[in-house]
Symmetry: C2
DNA sequence: CAGATAGTTCCAAGAAAGTCGAACTGATCG
DNA sequence: CGATCAGTTCGACTTTCTTGGAACTATCTG
């Protein structure tokens, strides 16, 4: 199913340690960097960060980021759009995303 | 052995994902908060964050933080002092520690 | 309706982390 | 020196992550 609406944690329920964990994987961090830079992307476009990886692996990383509250995953026609919950995260953890994204 | 000198990663070798991972555990994050607030502490004093936890468990967390480059662990008489590598981390990942520590 | 497309979910296997008791070691104190 | 103290390391066990192939589902296109 492509079009199902996923659960996303409420802003207030997002935990710092979960966010840190989600960002602590290089593949996931690369993905977050991509959508931070280029804006919302389809899953296929996101996969550009590691074209060799199987779809299922990628989907798992997306799930981890979504459940941690880092990313939104919403139906968009026959595709899905992945977007960063930037404003929300900035609100809840001021400066966190900025420092992570600007880190060399 | 209490007095052995441990390896600590050079600042340049500290990786963002490793730091994020080290901080993604609640027990370790609590510990980092403690020494950020109260300054360098002996291991025993650090254990105040979770007095019920066995020493060995605690020691493993310390090792994880040390190897990630978050913390320094140095001999001090018959004890050891645990200190936050704050200036170094601020230098390498500006704003990161501040945002993590100030997060509610 | 038949394909093709875009992703997810299921399942299993391997890798990595966390947990904790027990043994160990170096420094200090009597 | 012998005992104690402060912490680390070892070893075994359990849990959680990661990975990836295969099956599945929904949507769009012809």
């Amino acid at each position: 199913m492509t079009t199902r609406i996923f659960e996303h944690p409420d802003l207030a329920d997002i935990e710092l340690t979960s966010v840190l964990f989600a960002l602590s994987d290089p593949a996931r961090l690369d993905l977050v960097r991509l959508i931070a830079k280029d804006g919302p992307q389809t899953v296929a476009a996101c996969q550009a960060v590691d074209p060799a990886a199987p779809k299922s692996t990628f989907s798992h990383h997306l799930k981890a980021l979504r459940e941690a509250g880092v990313v939104r995953n919403e139906p968009h026609g026959r595709q899905r759009m992945i977007s960063l919950r930037r404003d929300e995260l900035d609100d809840r953890f001021p400066g966190l995303l900025d420092s992570v994204l600007s880190a060399g």
